[in-house]
Subunit: 284 residues, 2 copies
Amino acid sequence: MSITIVGLGLIGGSFAMALRERDPKNLWAVEVDEHTIITAQKRGIIDKGYREGAVPLRHSDIVIICLYPDAAASFIKDNMEYFKKGAVITDTVGIKSGLIKRINPILRSDLDFVAGHPLAGREYKGLEFASADAFAGATYIITPTERNDERALDLVENVVREAGFKTVLRISPERHDETIALTSQLPHVIAAALINSGGGCEPGLLAAGSYKDSTRVARINSKLWVELLLGNRENVLARIESFEGCLAEIKKAIAGNEAQALGAILEEVRIKREGIMQMPEKSL
Amino acid sequence: MSITIVGLGLIGGSFAMALRERDPKNLWAVEVDEHTIITAQKRGIIDKGYREGAVPLRHSDIVIICLYPDAAASFIKDNMEYFKKGAVITDTVGIKSGLIKRINPILRSDLDFVAGHPLAGREYKGLEFASADAFAGATYIITPTERNDERALDLVENVVREAGFKTVLRISPERHDETIALTSQLPHVIAAALINSGGGCEPGLLAAGSYKDSTRVARINSKLWVELLLGNRENVLARIESFEGCLAEIKKAIAGNEAQALGAILEEVRIKREGIMQMPEKSL
């Protein structure tokens, strides 16, 4: 099978390194940065890299697009004529409904677009942080639609398992975007607000583990995150508002010196948190 | 030197294990739980444990109180007559001003109370999670007042260094409580609100690293944290309000679909976050 990876950043580079070890027939890359292509070729991560899609796409059975949301949509649109007949296109964008709505109506009828999301982001970017074991044990989300062929879904599932993902979940795009607003986008927004709320203090002096952990993702890739937050705006706003309500409840108990009410809230939280982390990952 | 540790939980137990290796003349403990005393004696963590303070305190040069805030204040008050002449009393409570105000006015004139705070909390409690290297490389805060003798401050600093703390900072109690409201109490409140805001979702399904990190401390010890939050109420409320303002600013940019404003906020956050973590720890 011939594979093309589009975008050799943290995710694309890790895909290339992990799949390289499975010895595919051809492993090509499309990457706008010439220097990154040269590096990847020298290190043997890919067979060959291209600045544009035309040549490798014609012979690729699966195309894994590892670009930011807007760039991913544009790439598929702009290269529609080049994809091999019957090819499977997949992506790794962190929000799904909007992208699917942009792609499916313009997709050639012989092609299939399987939307995916590796739960393996990090607060770094670029090929230099990619690694062959970046996905080891991680979870991959696939968000099928009625437009998808079962064989295409299975192909993507197999490829991501080959790349090291342990759990592959199939969830509707809508459910994905609702949930990811809570589990990824809200924590990023909170981390950003927490960093900005430090006026008048030198948090570095007393930055305990809780502060470090809660602000880790504030080392944010602003270009990517503007797209993710605005691309999932309704869900993100709903989650922020729900969070604000819960924060106000705790604040009220503190302001009113209500030890019993505060204790009850914190105890409920502890039990919920332990439940969440014990919850087995399962398919929906 | 004879040392008594009061409370053989996570912090007290770790102190005992770490100081044991330095072979003090006597290493005693006061602990209300008989089973914990027996375990600690059997494992050789302490020379001898007592249910009450009267006997060991009479011969202890330094008493390290590792209890919750209210219990720490009560212990010192209730055992005032037993402390050895000239002894140094120190504590490990996470908020300082209130405790100092409760202790100093009632302290025998020959005693010195040095308030301390190990930045080494964990989301677990009890002797079973204690370890001899729990403090290795961590920061210890001492909050001196005019009532303190320089020799007493140095003694506590030396003992905590012997226990493994690498950096010892001296900060005023007021400054400590202001800063810790931002760097520890606010992240705990946020983690609790974040857990409670998950209604309608199954976050366990898509719990990425950011969610896990941001809610780690939601495995909260509710009894302890009610005391910490209410004991530092004014500072905590001010920090919650500042955070709410910063969150509202981000929310506004998302709601208004303002890519440029949102990008500017996130970029500022990234730079601040990198600055905080590079900031050298220094004395004030």
